[in-house]
Symmetry: C2
Subunit: 371 residues, 2 copies
C-alpha cells in the first residue's frame, strides 16, 4: 500500500501545514523530523528505540546500501523493512546527493554520473534508471528522484543547465520506476535563484510525482537566510495536497523556519552525528558533554522525557564519552532525536493553535539566550 498524505489544517499566521501520513504501519502527523539510518540502521539505536522516541518515517541511503550489502541482498531479505526489522515507513534518497558530496563525480553526462566508490575506489556509474531500480528493490515507502546536486556556489549558467538536466532525469526516472507500493517524489533544484526554483518547481510538478522535495540547500548554504529564501522560492509552486520535504536540514531553528514556509518533513544526520561527538541539544542551546564541568553534574541532560534524561545524569554520560563507551553516544542519540521530535510535536500544537510565530520567538529566546 502506497503512503497517502492528508492536509489537516493550514496555520493562519504562516504557511505552516498540519497534515497526516497514512501508511500500512499506522498514521503519523506532519510536520515531522525523519532520523537517518544511512546503512539500514540509525546509528547506535535499535528499531524499538526509534519507535519509543515516537518518530514516524526514517530515511536510509540508497548509495550506501547499493555499495553495501547491495540491493539484491536486501531484496532477497524481503526488502529493507524486513532486512533491518523496521515496521514503519522508510524513505530512501536517490544516491544523487552522496555521489556529488561523498564520492565526488568523475564525469557527469546526460546519461548519468561516473564516480569512484568512497569505500574501495571502484569505478561506478549511476543513472536515473539504475537509481530507480535499486530503490524499487530496496522497497522503501518513498523513493526519491535522481537529481544533479551542484554546489550552492555554482553560477547561474551552470545552475540553469543543471536544473534542466535534473528535469530530464526526473522524467526518465519516473518512466523507469516500477513498484506500485512505493511513492516517488520529485526534487526541486535551482540553488538560490528565484526564477530557477520557480521553473524547477513548475516543471517538476508538471511531470507529476507523489510528493515533492526541495534539494540543494543542505550543503554549503551561504547563510540561513539564503536557505530560507530558497524554500520560499519553491513552496508556492508545490501542490498543497502533496507532502513537501526539505532535504538534509535538521538544525532546530531551521525546522521551525522551514515549517513556517510550508515544509512538512525534514531529515538530517545531525542529531546522531552530534551525539557521537558528545554534543547534546538542550532548551538552552547545544552543550558538549565532554566538558569537565559536567564531571559531577548529577542532573539530566535536559528537562526532557526521553529515556536518557529519565534515567541518566550528565556526569554518567560524560564518563561514558570520556571512557570511549558507545552507550554514551547511544544515550545522546536517543536524546537528540527526541529533542527534534519534541520540537516537531510543539510545532504541530502551535499550528493547531495558530501561534507558531510566538512559539518560534519563545524557542529562539531560550535556545539562543536572546532577549
Amino acid at each position: 500500500m502506497k503512503i497517502k498524505y492528508e492536509l489537516i489544517k493550514e496555520e493562519k499566521q504562516s504557511k505552516a501545514r498540519l497534515g497526516k501520513i497514512i501508511s500500512k504501519y499506522g498514521e503519523y502527523e506532519t510536520p515531522m523530523f525523519m532520523p537517518v539510518g544511512t546503512q539500514a540502521t540509525v546509528k547506535t539505536l535499535s528499531p524499538e528505540e526509534i519507535k519509543e522516541i515516537g518518530t514516524g518515517i526514517i530515511l536510509s541511503n540508497t548509495y550506501h546500501l547499493w555499495l553495501r550489502p547491495g540491493e539484491d541482498v536486501i531484496a532477497k531479505a524481503g526488502g529493507l523493512h524486513s532486512f533491518m526489522n523496521y515496521s514503519g515507513p522508510i524513505l530512501t534518497d536517490s544516491g544523487g546527493f552522496q555521489v556529488f558530496s561523498l564520492a565526488k563525480p568523475k564525469d557527469i553526462t546526460e546519461e548519468g554520473v561516473t564516480f569512484k566508490s568512497h569505500i574501495n575506489g571502484d569505478k561506478l556509474f549511476l543513472t536515473p534508471e539504475i537509481s530507480m531500480n535499486i530503490q524499487n528493490k530496496l522497497g522503501s515507502d518513498i523513493a526519491m528522484s535522481f537529481d544533479e546536486c551542484p554546489p550552492a556556489s555554482a553560477n547561474y549558467e551552470y545552475m540553469k543547465k543543471s536544473v534542466e538536466r535534473t528535469l530530464r532525469w526526473a522524467k526518465r526516472g519516473k518512466e523507469a520506476f516500477n513498484n506500485p507500493d512505493q511513492c516517488l517524489f520529485g526534487i526541486i533544484q535551482g540553488g538560490y535563484f528565484e526564477d530557477l526554483r520557480k521553473h524547477s518547481a513548475l516543471e517538476t510538478v508538471k511531470i507529476g510525482f507523489d510528493g515533492y522535495a526541495i534539494g540543494g540547500v543542505a550543503n554549503d548554504n551561504e547563510s540561513k537566510e539564503e536557505m530560507y529564501k530558497a524554500i520560499q522560492y519553491s513552496t508556492p509552486y508545490m501542490p498543497s495536497d502533496k507532502l513537501r520535504y526539505l532535504m538534509g536540514v535538521g538544525d532546530p531553528i531551521d525546522l521551525i523556519e522551514g515549517v513556517i514556509r510550508g515544509v512538512d518533513i525534514f531529515d538530517c544526520v545531525i542529531p546522531t552525528r552530534l551525539a557521537r561527538h558528545g554534543h547534546a541539544y538542550t532548551k538552552y542551546g547545544k552543550i558538549n558533554l565532554r566538558n569537565a564541568k559536567y564531571k559531577e553534574d548529577f542532573s539530566p541532560v535536559d528537562d526532557c522525557d526521553c529515556y536518557a534524561c529519565k534515567s541518566y545524569t550528565k556526569s554518567y554520560i560524560r564518563h561514558l564519552l570520556v571512557a570511549g563507551e558507545t552507550f554514551g553516544s547511544r544515550l545522546l542519540s536517543v536524546h537528540n532525536i527526541y529533542f527534534l521530535h519534541k520540537i516537531m510535536s510543539n510545532i504541530r500544537t502551535a499550528i493547531r493553535e495558530d501561534n507558531l510565530l510566538e512559539y518560534k520567538d519563545k524557542f529562539i529566546k531560550e535556545y539562543y539566550g536572546e532577549n
Copy 2:
C-alpha cells in the same frame, strides 16, 4: 542489606551445587555467569538489556573506575548502582588483576604496588587499604580482596612468597573494610601447585570472608587441564555455605567444568569482546559473522530465544559489522551473553536432575563437533 547465599542442592554425580543469592534486588540462582561492565557499563548494552537477558550479578572494575571517573564522583552520585542506573547486584574486583595485567607493576612491596596508569602513565600506588576504601565508596554488593596476581608461569618459590603476601594483604583489607552492606570475598591463589592452593584456601578461610574466589587462572593458563586442577586443588577447602567464584573464566566448556568442580559464579569479558570482533557463540561452536558466506544467510545466528536471534538475520548482522555500525556488536553482545546465560540455566536444570555429566557430553559433542 548484604547479599546472602543459600545452598539448595549438591549434584549426585559431581561437586556441582545449585544455590540461591538473596539480595535486596531479588533472588538469583547459581551457578551463574556474570557479564562484565568494566567502566560502569556492559559494553554497548543498556541495563534494561542486561535485565532482559536475565543474568543476575554484573561485575565492574575498581581499577578502571578509580582512574575514571574516580570513586568520589561515583560516591557523590549515590554509588555505582545509582551512577549507572543498575538495580541489580554488582560485584567489584579489587584492582589487583588490572594492576598486574594492564598497568604492569613497577614495584611490589609489602605495603602495596606502584605502577603506571594505562591511560596517561601517571604513577599510582595501590594497597589493600586503598582498594577497600575505593570499593566501599563504589558501594558494590560484593567487594574483592586485594591480591597479588603473579603470572601462572611463576616458579614455586615466587608463588609461595606471593601466596603469603596475598594472605597478609587479605587480613589488612578485611581490617580496613568498612561498609556493613557490602560482602567482602577472599581470593585463593597458588598457581598450579596443589599444596599452595590448599594452604592459600585454608588460611584465607581462617581469616574469614563472606565468600571465596579462585584467582590466578584467567590469564596464561598453560592448558585447560591445569586450570581445572587448580580449581580441584581449591574447592575442597572452600566452605560449602559460602559462594565460590572462579575469576575471569567464561569459555563455555570452562563454565561446565568449573561447576562440576564446585564453582558457583563466573565472570569474563569474553562474550562482549568476541561480539566486538564479530564472533558469535552457537550450539555448534563459534562463528565469525564477518565471513562472506553469511552475506545472504537469512537465518538467525543460532536457534536461540535472545532479542538478536528473534529479530535479526546473520546477513543483517554481517552487514552491520562490515559497515562498522555499532548496532552489530550490540546485537552480538546480547546474543553471546544470553548464550552463556542459557548454558548456566541448562547447568542448573542438569544439577536438579543429577545429570550434569550427560549434559556436558551432549554439549561437547554439539559444540566441538566430536563424535
